[in-house]
């Protein structure tokens, strides 16, 4: 610090040198007239202030001050002076838009309240890309991230946009003059208007080049499709008539396909004689594998071989019996089968070849997915050019190569040498750190934009909030920097000006550009009246018929590529992306970090997944400590010359022998929340953009890792009536009591269905609404979308890694995952272990506690069951939780004194206690601890203080709003109007909600179905949530 700095007490002192010196010696500028005051004794004596008076005033003063200090905090809310036409306080507005952050893309509806977006919902009228995953919904929170860049900067110093523009254009010109390249490094960016705009840019700067680089590359898939189907895009699969899916390590319920397939998949899983069969051959236990009917764990090299064998078997040339069986299954289904593969160009291509060969009806040849444009070759050329000094400027958008590129260090050195480096990142990341110019762009919720994600559909992005910070849209930056008519640059004036003509020669904004682009190029082709109409819908459909090149295919190089893998003893690695974190773009999002992984149910971390046999060989264990929390050994991982140290190991049932899994997207170096998460950067192992890596050596390290896992018991311990499942044959041929037995209570009259016996006086629940929620275990894929929707709707707090480890997760809705055990009560009985023998019971339970090595998986969403005879309600001493007239079990937060008796007495353990204040508490430094972050909170739901119990309310604020709206409009509520946040978000319609007093409603029909049952019904709680039995194909291959 500069200690010589001068401080002054006002301008006179600064200006008057003498005065300053004079004052310097004195504490008070003027003498205090003590003498005058005290010397006038007569006057003092004449005053009537006695000692008593003094004490009185003193007392009053103290009391007054103390009382004033007791005043509650004042929160000022400022009403609109002039109310905007479109905004009515308390009524949400919805805007159609397109979510795109470089990894995910979806057509969405944004719910805004008083001008701020508070929730992302699905744009249900969009024909494609309407599923909203957890990540898509959670991207809302990154809008309110207080770590976002607040404005433009050059070399870390804040500047104005004008200065920045001047700086950049000057250097761009120089680069152009020097003949070096200007590279816009970008993730897949399927925006047609931006492409056009960049084309304009490249007219002014002819050396400009667009390099598409995706952290998680789809390049090999694009190449394979190009070679087989003749178009560099991803094939589009339509599963509505598919009866068999054979997937070779393709995580198609995850990110394998940029458009999620889960909706149709779940529909095809509806139990019927033609129900979809799903065979998954994979090494890691993926979300997709967890949903499969048959799952074959094989290590990556064998998965590839199996694919080749199946191809050969289809053509009659394989000796592998398993492959023959799979091939036979494919042959049997013929065009109703489809094969997916992932991992290499060869695998992808061969799968396409099989689909072509069997003339699979699922593979649509007139439609392609265009959302991904990864081009690894272009990126490699860029690296080469960079090293050879052919590049003069690098502009980076939506991508973070210094984090995600396997050889990040070389790239860092090369980038440092470049004269002009511009980052458009919305917050600081590993790449922006070395960038000279920061031109932060808007969050997608503040931006204009468009996308062309699939043949036949164009979508629009519109801003739903004023930019929060001094940021600027990427396209606006490009437009400003490519202002035509300046200097001696050569460009095609005609074509460029055509886009500018609406703006009278001024620099158009991107909005003008986008609109004129759409009005010229897109709207004429579509059957849409105006731009505003398409903006209202969020998308337009255009009839398109892409031309197909029929290519002569020789499968032999692909087959060779698959089989030519040397058998090594070393472990093989399958890199994967987690449901919550994806490729790591949103690593700083606390909602996503705290979303438990659907399979391992851990949060805030990545780890090596290892099979129990391999773990045993390495001497690695997972164990639980006294408070239940899980600990595990760590390993040092060696691959070639890459060493990653101290990676925790999670022993994963279902992990293929000889293989390990590791999730991408962790090990970030920037961002508060991302830093709280523990993990390693697995991109360092992502050599050649290949998710399969070989030659992995693991070595046990001394380190012990503390997992933050919220489910510590993996099996049902024989309690199969909790998450019920049956096989299709039994379901179709046997009566209900065989596969979905009603639970009965033994009484003196014999066994009676549990809902016929009660201690309580029956209430008449036929009046008004009576809400029920249905959970279809067959349709639930475990994707976690509902959990994030619940977070956003109900202001559920984030508690952080340490609290999760203490099993203090606050999720109102959780998705339990159970593995099957090798043994059941029946099979153990054959071994002589039985419940009938008191002394063999401990051993029996020991068997049931362990999951098998290749288990079947079942997901079970559990939220408050809203019991009609709720155990929680009777035990609350202050009646803070009571039953609502519409079937909900309600919490009066203000009345709760926090005895937690209700939570103890809840058989479903869905009640969540506020152990601390989670809002405005520095110990929980997440979004609720800053003003910006709190803008995401739903104003319809209060924030709970510490010491108060909370839980699922069946989104009572939503149902009440629906009821009131109908009442105002003097009509009955329509069935489909009743929704909760989770049912709205569920991409597979596994969750549905409605009024069972309405005989016509969907929920009433569901309740009557044979598959429905209530959780732990025998306790007599009479829940208002019911489940539908899961039905699988039982045949093993």
């Amino acid at each position: 610090m500069d200690s010589k700095r001068k401080y002054w007490r006002g301008l006179p002192e600064l200006q008057n040198e003498n005065l300053r010196e004079e004052l310097a010696g004195k504490e008070f500028p003027q003498e205090i007239p003590v003498e005058v005051f005290l010397s006038n004794q007569k006057k003092l004596e004449a005053e009537k202030t006695t000692r008593r008076d003094f004490l009185k005033w003193m007392g009053f003063g103290t009391a007054a001050v103390a009382l004033a200090a007791c005043k509650g905090p004042v929160i000022r809310s400022i009403p609109y002076v002039v109310k905007p036409d479109s905004i009515t306080p308390g009524i949400p507005n919805y805007y159609a838009s397109t979510m795109f952050d470089g990894f995910d893309l979806a057509s969405v509806l944004v719910k805004t309240r008083e001008g701020r977006p508070i929730k992302i919902e699905s744009n249900t009228i969009a024909p494609y890309f309407q599923s909203i995953s957890a990540r898509i919904q959670a991207s809302l929170l990154s809008l309110y991230d207080d770590e976002r860049l607040k404005g433009p900067a050059i070399k870390g110093k804040s500047v104005s946009w004008d200065t920045l523009d001047e700086y950049v254009t000057e250097r761009l010109k120089k680069v152009h003059e020097s003949g070096r390249q200007i590279v816009l490094l970008c993730s897949s960016f399927p925006s047609p208007s931006t492409k056009k705009l960049f084309w304009n840019f490249s007219q002014i700067y002819p050396t400009a080049r667009l390099v598409t680089y995706d952290a998680y590359s789809y390049s090999y898939a694009l190449e394979a499709t190009e070679e087989i189907l003749g178009t560099r895009a991803l094939p589009y699969y339509e599963l509505s008539k598919t009866e068999l899916i054979v997937s070779f390590d393709a995580d198609f319920l995850g990110h394998w396909s940029p458009e999620s397939l889960e909706k149709v998949y779940a529909k095809r899983k509806k139990p019927a004689s033609d129900m979809l069969t799903h065979i998954q051959i994979e090494s890691n236990m993926s979300l997709t594998g967890a949903n499969a009917d048959t799952r074959i764990p094989l290590k990556p090299s064998q998965v590839r071989k199996m694919l080749a064998e199946v191809y050969k078997a289809l053509n009659g040339g394989s000796t592998n019996t398993r492959a023959q069986k799979i091939a036979q299954a494919i042959k049997d289904k013929g065009s109703k089968a489809v094969v997916f593969a992932d991992g290499s160009k060869e695998a992808y291509a061969l799968a396409l070849l099989i689909n072509k060969q069997i003339q699979s009806g699922s593979l649509k040849k007139d439609r392609f997915l265009l959302a991904k444009e990864s081009d690894d070759k272009a990126f490699e050329r860029f690296i080469k050019d960079l090293k050879e000094d052919h590049i003069g400027a690098v502009l980076v958008n939506d991508t973070n190569p210094l984090y995600s590129f396997s050889a990040a260090e070389e790239l860092r050195e090369a980038l440092k040498k470049i004269k002009l480096t511009v980052s458009f990142a919305i917050k600081e990341d590993e790449t922006s750190e070395v960038m000279k110019v920061w031109a932060p762009k808007h969050h997608w919720l503040e931006s204009w934009g468009d996308a062309y994600p699939i043949t036949g559909m164009y979508t629009l992005t519109q801003p739903v909030i004023q930019p929060i910070f001094n940021t600027r849209q990427l396209q606006d930056s490009l437009l400003t920097w490519s202002k035509p008519g300046e200097g001696n640059l050569s460009f095609d004036r005609e074509s460029l000006l055509s886009c500018y003509d609406n703006c009278n020669g001024k620099i158009p904004t991107y909005y003008d550009f986008l609109r004129s682009f759409w009005e010229r190029n897109i709207l004429p082709k579509a059957n849409v009246s105006s731009f505003n109409k398409s903006l209202f819908d969020g998308f337009v459909e255009i009839p398109e018929n892409p031309e197909l090149n029929t290519l002569a295919i020789d499968e032999s190089p692909y087959l060779r590529g698959l089989i030519n893998t040397s058998e090594k003893k070393d472990l093989e690695l399958r890199l994967y992306t987690k449901t919550a974190i994806g490729d790591g773009v949103q690593a700083n999002n606390p909602w996503l970090q705290e979303l438990p992984d659907p399979i391992t149910r851990t949060t805030w971390e990545n780890y090596v997944t290892l099979s129990s046999a391999d773990a045993k060989n390495l001497g690695i264990r997972n164990w639980h400590i006294g408070d239940g929390a899980m600990n595990g050994n760590c390993v040092n991982l060696k691959m070639g010359n890459i060493n990653l140290e101290k990676i925790p190991v999670y022993i994963q049932p279902g992990q293929a022998l000889g293989s390990i899994g590791l999730a991408l997207g962790y090990g970030r170096e920037k961002g508060k929340a991302a830093l709280q998460a523990s993990g390693v950067n697995a991109y360092k192992l992502y050599k050649n953009f290949n998710i399969f890596q070989e030659g992995i050596q693991l070595e046990k390290s001394e380190e012990i890792h503390k997992f933050s896992c919220i489910q510590l018991q993996h099996t049902l311990v024989g309690r199969t009536s909790i998450a019920r499942e049956t096989d299709l044959e039994t379901f179709l041929t046997q009566p209900k009591k065989v596969w979905n037995e009603e639970e009965k209570i033994g009484t003196y009259k014999g066994k009676i269905p549990s809902n016929k016996v009660t201690l309580w006086k029956e209430k008449d629940r036929t009046q008004g609404h009576h809400f029920n929620l249905s959970v279809d275990l067959n349709a639930c894929t475990g994707c976690g979308s509902c959990i994030i929707a619940c977070h956003a709707e109900n202001n559920v707090p984030v508690v952080g890694k340490d609290e999760i480890r203490k099993s203090r997760d606050m999720h109102w809705l959780r998705i339990d995952r159970y593995y099957s055990t090798e043994e059941s009560f029946e099979s153990l009985e054959e071994k002589g272990l039985s419940q009938k023998n008191m002394f063999s019971e401990p051993e029996m339970y020991t068997h049931l506690l362990e999951p098998e090595t290749n288990p079947q998986v079942i997901f079970q969403p559990v939220m408050c069951q809203h019991c009609n005879n709720a155990p929680c309600e009777t035990v609350c001493p202050v009646a803070a939780t009571s039953h609502g007239g519409q079937g909900q079990n309600m919490m009066a937060y203000n009345r709760c004194v926090g005895t937690r008796y209700c939570a103890n007495n809840c058989p479903y353990k869905v009640r969540r206690f506020n152990w601390f204040n989670y809002a405005e508490n520095d110990k929980f430094d997440f979004y609720m601890n800053n003003d910006l972050g709190r803008m995401v909170l739903n104003p319809d739901v209060v924030i709970r203080s510490r010491g108060v119990m909370e839980k699922c309310s069946l989104c009572i604020q939503m149902t009440q709003a629906t009821v009131l709206k109908a009442k105002k409009e003097r009509r009955k509520v329509k069935d489909e109007e009743f929704q909760t946040a989770c049912t709205k978000a569920c991409p597979t319609e596994a969750l549905s909600f409605g009024d069972i007093n309405d005989q016509e409603s969907q929920i009433t029909q569901k309740l009557k179905e044979d598959r429905s049952y209530k959780l732990l019904d025998f306790i007599g709680t009479r829940p208002n949530v019911f489940y539908q039995v899961k039905v699988r194909h039982s045949k093993k291959i």
Binding site: G628, E803, R900, R946, T1021
Partner: protein
């Protein structure tokens, strides 16, 4: 044969040929003399523990229940364990003074005062926990059915926690009145002896102008009988109601009709153990060897071994019924690796060893009559009974219906600190009591002295029966 026959095996309840005056002297000695070094050391330690516990309580109230080791599955652990433990301890006093009074058991007279003091101090500790275990203890008064600003907002009369509030407060107030009433003649005795004016003033207020008149004694006796009648059902009701906290719930291992008698027996079991523990010390420190004799110890040990047996039968009943039910839920609670070999095996075996196995030694007369061994066993029973409540609460909660939510529990330093703090508080109260209150109900004790015939019997013993 003239005269009555006197059983030679009945031992006297007071040893050492005491006269009335000797008893007065012995009882007044701790009050009139200066405290010894040992007292100061124990008091200092207890006070430190109390201050530490207060610190932990304030930290909890200031920060949130999260500073304890609880989690979403185990929402009660040390808090309610301590609560039930202290309530249980608070059972022996009233049982001794009320039930034994009704049964005319004169041996209670040497120990009833201290046992009742223990009861009251233990209930004070117990009463702390329901308040501090709340998330928002400043709203604790909402559980009381008092007029309020919310209109006609009542507490929930269905809730066993509310029943607890009534049961404990009734028990506490009636026990206190009963205890205090018994103290009045003794306070009067001290009032008459002390010389310092302040002491005199205090004891004369406390003695309510007792004059020792026949009318006073008559009222005293009548009120004793009435209060004893009132207290007796309370002895059974309090722990029955505490057991309802668990028995009326739906959680496996809690939901059990055997709980009320089982809890009452357990409470008497633990209460007597605590009386043994405290008197074992008091006997030495306050030189009451002549008043608390082997006979007393033996009687108490008999109560312990009987109630201990009832508790053991209750354990076995629970096991058998769990197995007999055939429900995989019920069954698992007792037979899984969860109980005896699982994460809480130590708590399970602590319970079995301390409560079931060790007390069986009391079947032997030599152990039963040994001050040392009954002291040791009483300590183990105290520990075992704490673990019994811990097992009931934590084991059953941690492995309940849905396996997905199973967890464990580890106490935090705050949990431990508060428990230590209540022990400190208890001993602070007890030590202050020992220095200022007559620790033996001397007025009543004097009624069982065999002053008239004792001398001649002695002569007879010496000179043979002629």
């Amino acid at each position: 044969m003239s005269g009555h026959y006197e059983s030679p095996i009945r031992e006297p309840l007071i040893l050492g040929n005491k006269t009335y005056h000797d008893i007065t002297q012995d009882v007044a000695r701790p009050i009139e003399s200066k405290a010894g070094k040992l007292w100061w050391i124990t008091f200092g330690t207890a006070l430190m523990a109390l201050v530490w516990g207060m610190g932990c309580i304030l930290y909890t109230i200031g920060t949130g229940i999260g500073v304890w080791g609880l989690n979403r599955t185990v929402n009660w652990a040390w808090d309610i364990t301590n609560f039930v433990w202290w309530v249980g301890i608070g059972h022996a006093g009233t049982l001794i003074s009320a039930v034994l009074l009704l049964f005319r058991q004169k041996w209670r007279l040497s120990i009833n005062r201290s046992a009742e003091a223990m009861t009251i101090f233990a209930v004070v500790q117990a009463g702390l926990f329901p308040i501090i275990h709340m998330g928002r203890p400043w709203d604790a008064y909402w559980v009381l059915p008092i007029p309020n600003q919310f209109g006609t907002l009542w507490p929930n009369f269905n809730s066993p926690l509310l029943w607890d509030v009534f049961a404990i407060s009734t028990y506490f107030s009636v026990s206190t009145v009963f205890w205090f009433m018994g103290l009045i003649p003794d306070f009067a005795m001290i009032r008459d002896r002390v010389t310092k004016p302040i002491q005199k003033k205090i004891y004369s207020i406390l003695s309510f102008g007792w004059g020792g008149k026949a009318k006073h004694w008559q009222r005293f006796e009548e009120l004793s009988l009435v209060l004893a009648g009132l207290c007796t059902p309370l002895v059974f009701s309090v722990h029955t109601i505490v057991s309802f906290d668990f028995a009326t719930s739906v959680i496996k291992g809690w939901h059990s009709t055997v709980f009320p008698p089982y809890f009452v027996a357990g409470a008497i079991f633990s209460g007597f153990a605590m009386v043994q523990t405290l008197l074992g010390v008091a006997r030495k420190v306050l030189h009451l060897e002549d008043y608390i004799t082997q006979k007393h110890i033996e009687y108490m040990n008999i109560v312990i071994v009987v109630t201990g047996g009832m508790v053991a039968v209750a354990y076995i009943t629970e096991f058998i019924l769990a197995w007999y039910s055939g429900s995989p839920f019920e069954d698992f609670t007792y037979f899984s690796p969860g109980a005896a070999t699982g994460p809480f095996w130590w708590a399970f075996w602590a319970l079995i060893i301390c409560n079931v196995l060790l007390p069986q030694a009391l079947w032997f007369k030599c152990v039963r009559r040994s001050f040392f061994w009954s002291y040791v066993i009483s300590i183990f029973i105290n520990i075992g009974m704490w673990f019994e409540r811990f097992d009931i609460i934590v084991l059953n909660l941690s492995h309940d219906y849905l396996p997905s939510t199973w967890t464990g529990f580890l106490p935090s330093f705050v949990d431990i600190g508060i428990f230590i703090g209540t022990n400190g508080f208890f001993f602070v109260l007890y030590l202050l009591y020992a220095r200022t209150f007559p620790v033996i109900a001397q007025a009543e004790l004097k009624t069982i002295m065999k002053s008239s015939s004792e001398k001649y019997k002695k002569m007879r013993d010496e000179q043979g029966n002629h």
